[in-house]
Subunit: 352 residues, 2 copies
Amino acid sequence: MTLKLPGLIDAHVHMRDPGAEYKEDWTSGTAAALTGGFTVVLAMPNTQPPITNDKNLSLALEAGRHKARCDFAQFLGAGPDNAAVIPALSQKAAGMKMYLDQTYGPLRLDDMTLWRDHLSQWPVDAPIAVHAEGRSMAAIILAATFFGRSVHLCHVSTREEILLIKAAKEKGLNVTCEVAPHHLFLSDEDIKHLGVGKSEVRPRLATRADCEALWDNIQVVDCFATDHAPHTLAEKDGLNPPPGFPGLETAFSLLYTAVSQERISVDDLVSRMYTNPRRIFNLPEQQQTWIEIDQKARYEIGSSNFYTRCDWSPFSGWKVVGRITRVVLRGNEAYRDGQVLAPPGYGVNIRY
Amino acid sequence: MTLKLPGLIDAHVHMRDPGAEYKEDWTSGTAAALTGGFTVVLAMPNTQPPITNDKNLSLALEAGRHKARCDFAQFLGAGPDNAAVIPALSQKAAGMKMYLDQTYGPLRLDDMTLWRDHLSQWPVDAPIAVHAEGRSMAAIILAATFFGRSVHLCHVSTREEILLIKAAKEKGLNVTCEVAPHHLFLSDEDIKHLGVGKSEVRPRLATRADCEALWDNIQVVDCFATDHAPHTLAEKDGLNPPPGFPGLETAFSLLYTAVSQERISVDDLVSRMYTNPRRIFNLPEQQQTWIEIDQKARYEIGSSNFYTRCDWSPFSGWKVVGRITRVVLRGNEAYRDGQVLAPPGYGVNIRY
């Protein structure tokens, strides 16, 4: 029995390109995206160099133009000294990303007065995505209200965060949010079997109670986004394991399994993986684009042979329901039965 | 030339009574208060035991009733499990104190969902004072707006905090704040000569730029409050120096020196040490109460012979202008020329 859905949108991926192509590049990352049913990915700016100016944005967009197999856009990073400069680039970018808490890469805005500079100057109709945990999340919501603008809160992971967002929405504040599958399906109880290094991720794996609160408040969640953050197994098992999980190839099946268990509906899935991210990030429609799912397929997530160059998954061994069998992107078959068919360069920058 | 001002109000003192009377009690602490020109002190609840319920509130109020030489009220502490209970005590308390960041004592509300419990249940016309630094301060401002109520932000110490409060006030949010003299007059550059242990205070001594930002935005500051937090010199010089400075006996002269230098006006002083704290904490007028100041007196702050039991000051050696010569409290001379005349028990609980 085949289910046909719109091409999925992942509003939060790390392509590692430019600068760390040994763990992922636009070619491998977008192959992983198509395999996972995503026809648009929005790439984060904490690359090497970080995407904080026109020159570096061009680097990323050129790499994407030549290598991406699915459609894409690139976030600009808010830095301590580029608030006045990047608004001119807003039309070319997926949006602006503000890092307010510690994560991977060099971008972070420690002082709240720096937030003000960005919130006041970035165009009010251009998206802002924020890495802000706990109290930082409340702080950026307040700051955004001062400037009468929306913010999209990335990878919500805790009970206090989702209840905060629920309260903010009830008060009519203009906030949206995303949750990553690993924060829905994994908790700190999984660190034991995953291992400490492999479990490293920001925000950290939270408690079982936090996971349950995310599920209990799933109607507050606007988007599912993978926060696909590939690092090699050697790095994850090394002395300073970097935070992040690959997620593009496993997100849909994990979430569709939740559909099969009637934890969420297909409509819940489509709104969070297509309708809402498209609205929030103001993405164009992709003509003649859809994905096909074998709803009855049951399989176990493997431990290798992924398209992502880092070639591992924190979900190895998980039994899931629902397999993507075909992806049609702008009239052409881009993926079928395990084979990525769209060549590098087929993907277009949706903010061209 | 004698200046006559209203009896000063210190909205933030630690009397250490009950539980740590070896460093301060209501007798010694209120002697220090009168010496410093304060005729009302509001005592914080992080005592031993902490003032988090009716029984412990009675302990503190009984001690105050027998020992206090000036008028007083006692804060209740917001704990993780007393949100439903303490509103019934609100009329007997100076207000509720919420500790949202690490400081001295056992009270702290880590999870923002605990804040909600208190903000929703504490009477909207009863004061809430908050220890919240940086992003926590922005978070509690947001949370307070959800419940349409005011919050008083204690010991503002940084540029980002005072600019945050300025922005919040400009947006019409119902926030007030206080600054402690040590954050106006000392910075992290003073740690070297004070010594690391003696310099310990929460919020920490900030940068010179932070101090300057407080002065530059002094019109945003509603109150000067000492955060008088006595610890013995042996403790401060010991292995785990507790945070806090005594401040009651030095605050006025330090601030009056700023008046003499024309950094602030006498009106600025009176509004921040009398009018505003009286309004914010809804304090009754003290009949026939005033203080007299020798405006021309110049003296050097000593290193001992204070009334505070801990008997030291981070301001030893500072040359100041303006000396309190006489305090009249409810028609009786309570202090004159170095001598505290009001006996223990003369002070009344203004929330009796």
